[in-house]
């Protein structure tokens, strides 16, 4: 839930999603769900010469499991808060028997 919670705050921000097939897509984050599936708008492929077929695509839905990295806009990430959130997540009384 930490990452879901985190990505929720990035809605409306430009991000670059790097996929496991080496495709890197820059776009405005529209929404994200608990599986970290990502919806992007106004997308632009980073290496357009290699992927000309993506030129016509304006928005996309990315399955969370194919994402390798997401490049974030640094000003909209509160690292101290993120650390706290991680601490809280760890402290949670083993929810549903989770270790």
């Amino acid at each position: 839930m930490l990452f879901y919670s985190f990505f929720k705050t990035l809605v409306g921000q430009p991000v670059t999603v790097e996929l496991k097939n080496d495709l890197a897509i820059t776009g405005v984050l529209v929404s994200v769900d608990q599986f970290l599936n990502i919806k992007l708008d106004n997308i632009k492929v980073v290496d357009e010469e290699r992927y000309p077929h993506m030129l016509a695509v304006k928005n996309c839905f990315i399955r969370g499991s194919v994402v390798r990295y997401v490049q974030l806009p640094a000003p909209s990430v509160d690292t101290a808060l993120l650390q706290d959130a991680a601490r809280r997540e760890r402290q949670q009384p083993a929810q549903g028997g989770r270790k």
Binding site: M1, L2, Y4, S5, F6, K8, T9, V11, G12, V30, S31, Q34, F35, D78, A80, L81, L82, Q83, D84, A85, R87, R88, E89, Q91, Q92, Q95, G96, G97, R98, K99
Partner: protein, 716 residues
């Protein structure tokens, strides 16, 4: 005999009985042929020869008195009521007209409605063909009405072709169709007519070309109509036709595609009922729903809260929450939203009632069924928990810092810091859930709640205090545990948050401990200036720890300031400490505060004689320790921005100094003053940099009652 119930019974070509009509020659010839045939076949024809065996009894019958027939069979004949064929013949033209009208109507509609068109296709096309040949064919009308007689039509035609007028032949007695043929169209049926008939009555094979022809005709007609509408001119331009056709085809194709797509989608319409949809929604939402948003959605909650506060400070109404959930905003009408909210509430209460289980054991099943969720994902790694359980135990049981030797290994210290964080987070969470101020009428209840909250809060704060390990006696371990905590950047970062939950005397203890062990801080070590990381640490110390303590000291009474400075000088090597920025900052802090209190600028009374005496003694000690080292406070290669704290300290020293001490100060830093003034006066540096240099120098010179402009640059 010629009239049987009004029907003409005369057979064509055989007018009369054979016996009567045959002359003796013919009779003989016939007999001869019969005999010949009998010889050939071996048949005994004699038995059929009634001539010999016939006893002529019939001759005895009364053949006369036919005039009584009328009496026997009734009056003046049977009339013609039952003569259906002639009746039909009379109304045949009217029927035909009706039929034509109907076909025409269908032709207009039929172009589009292929299903009907195919029903009427054969007849319509045949009809049209016959129109073209100028042969209006009533039989068409009749045949389509009496459709079941289709097979007889051809026979009837053949027969009717040779017979003019009515057909009375009993051999072809059932030829109703032929009978219906009006005598007015007694001419031979044309080839085309017969072909059309054949087409209609034959199997499916010949039908298909006729149908296709029909369809193509209609398309051409449509195009022609379009052309005439568009241009109003003849449609003989090839290119225009092609273009129009292509356009038409495109439109037609697109429309068809759209319709096909719609149909494709529409076939799934209504597949799910509302309760199905609700069920799916529940499943999806239940993954995300939580009764404690601060626990499961901590980052988002706090982040938006912080952002909103920040925006409000900037005068922008906080709307982060809205932009954070665009789908909420987009979500349709209020009723749906309300229903969703109700569902969410129900899910939350359900979740509270039955806590989630990791696995279910179903009776009869082999093994357990794992129930995975977002909160409880399938475990992919099995890590040995031996080490972590010890940590958890240590965290859960906050053992009071033991007086014995305490390990200061890095992971131990990091563990302490994490424990502090845990407490801080819990405290902050409690702050957020602080009970609201009592409403009128509920004071008693509210007071109880508040008291309970205060107790819990105090307990947690004490726990945090223990975790900070400030009260561990000095000089058992070196460095002191608290200083060890401060040597980590995350230890530094937690201090401002810790201070918010501490009582004033606890802060004083903390400050005392810090001051007493100051030179064991890593930021106090001079070699730390060498690398970037060290500078970051110093920056962090100056930004996190100094400001809140500065705030505390600037409220402190004279007695405490004196005590702290005494401890500072007592326990640390001043030359060492003063060469670090944090050390110098603390010294400046104490000096300025003492000076302010001495001059009586704050709420505290002016310190009495004895306290002033103590202070002067302390000051003199500090001055004598630092004497001959003032110039060394300046960083060897520091930029002037980094020098400002040194000048500030010198200013603080100068304010409290005696005349001799001031003299010593000026003598020692004279070089730096001159350097700065010369650097500012030469045109090499930018104006703002020069102004800053002069400003720095003036910090110190003003404290002495001087100004940079009074400095005379000696001729070089």
């Amino acid at each position: 005999m010629s009239d049987f119930f009004g029907f003409n019974t005369v057979m064509p070509g055989r007018p009369g009985s054979r016996k009567v009509m045959l002359n003796p020659d013919e009779q003989q010839e016939l007999d001869r042929q019969v005999q010949k045939y009998a010889l050939e076949t071996g048949e005994d024809f004699e038995i059929y020869d009634y001539g010999e065996t016939y006893d002529n009894l019939a001759d005895g019958l009364e053949e006369t008195r036919d005039d009584l027939n009328d009496e026997t069979f009734g009056g003046t004949g049977a009339g013609t009521d039952f003569d259906f064929a002639s009746n039909t013949r009379q109304i045949a033209p009217a029927l035909k007209k009706e039929e034509e009208l109907y076909i025409k109507q269908n032709e207009h509609v039929g172009v589009r409605r292929s299903s009907f068109a195919s029903l009427w296709e054969n007849d319509a096309s045949a009809q049209q063909d016959s129109y073209k040949n100028g042969l209006p064919e009533p039989s068409q009308a009749a045949s389509s009405i009496w459709g079941s007689f289709g097979n007889t039509t051809v026979k009837g035609m053949d027969a009717g072709g040779r017979n003019t007028g009515f057909v009375h032949d009993p051999v072809f007695g059932v030829g109703t169709f032929a009978l219906s043929r009006p005598s007015t169209f007694g001419n031979q049926p044309s080839l085309e007519e017969i072909e059309a008939q054949l087409l209609r009555t034959a199997g499916t094979q010949p039908q298909i070309p006729a149908q296709q022809e029909r369809k193509m005709m209609s398309l051409e007609e449509v195009e022609a109509a379009l052309m005439s509408i568009n241009g109003g001119r003849p449609i003989y331009t090839e290119s225009v036709i092609a273009e129009q056709q292509a356009k038409q085809a495109r439109l037609e194709k697109r429309r068809a595609e759209r319709l096909a797509k719609q149909a494709e989608i529409a076939k799934h319409n209504g597949l799910m009922t509302q309760s199905d949809k609700d069920f799916i929604n529940r499943i999806q939402i239940s993954q995300l729903v939580t009764d404690d948003p601060y626990a499961d959605d901590f980052y988002c909650q706090v982040y938006t809260a912080l952002r909103n506060r920040h925006l409000q400070q900037m005068g922008i109404p906080g709307s982060m929450m809205d932009s954070g959930h665009p789908d909420n905003r987009r979500r349709g009408n209020g009723r749906t939203e309300q229903r969703m909210q109700q569902q969410v509430q129900r899910i939350v209460s359900d979740a509270k009632r039955n806590p989630k289980r990791t696995n279910v054991t179903v009776e009869g099943a082999l093994g357990k069924i794992a129930v995975n969720s977002v909160l409880n994902p399938r475990q992919l790694l099995q890590v040995s928990k031996r080490g972590s359980t010890n940590d958890v135990l240590a965290g859960n049981l906050p053992k009071p810092p033991s007086p014995g030797p305490v390990s200061t290994k890095s992971h131990t210290v990091l563990g302490w810091i994490e424990n502090v964080y845990t407490c801080v987070l819990a405290l902050e969470q409690m702050r957020r859930q602080q009970p609201p101020p009592p409403r009128p009428g509920e004071e008693e209840l509210a007071r109880e709640v508040i008291q309970q909250w205060n107790e819990e809060y105090g307990e947690l704060a004490r726990k945090m205090w223990r975790e900070l390990r400030i009260t561990v006696p000095i000089s058992i371990v070196h460095p002191h545990p608290f200083i060890s905590i401060l040597n980590y950047s995350k230890g530094k970062k937690v201090i401002p948050r810790v201070l918010r939950h501490l009582l004033p005397e606890q802060i004083l203890t903390l400050l005392t401990m810090l001051v007493a062990n100051f030179d064991s801080l890593n930021v106090c070590k001079s070699e730390i200036y060498a690398d970037v990381e060290g500078n970051q640490e110093i920056e962090l110390f100056m930004n996190t720890i100094v400001p809140p303590l500065l705030g505390f000291v600037s409220e402190a009474p004279f007695r405490i300031v004196v005590g702290l400075l005494a401890l500072f000088i007592e326990r640390n090597n001043m030359i060492w400490v003063a060469r670090s920025r944090p050390g110098l900052a603390f010294l400046t802090l104490f000096l300025t505060r003492a000076e302010i209190l001495k001059q009586g600028h704050s709420n505290y009374p002016i310190p009495d004689e004895r306290e002033i005496e103590q202070w002067n003694e302390l000051y003199n000690r500090l001055f004598s320790q630092l004497q001959t080292h003032f110039a060394a406070l300046f960083m060897p290669k520091a930029t002037m921005a980094e020098d400002v704290h040194v000048w500030r300290f010198l200013a603080a020293m100068a304010v409290g100094a005696s005349v001799e001490q001031q003299h010593v100060l000026v003598t020692e830093v004279r070089e730096q003053v001159l350097d700065n003034v010369i650097a500012a006066q030469t045109s090499r540096s930018a104006p703002e940099k020069a102004a800053q240099r002069i400003g720095n120098v003036n910090l110190f010179l003003h404290a002495l009652g001087l100004d940079a402009s009074q400095v005379t640059v000696p001729a070089m």
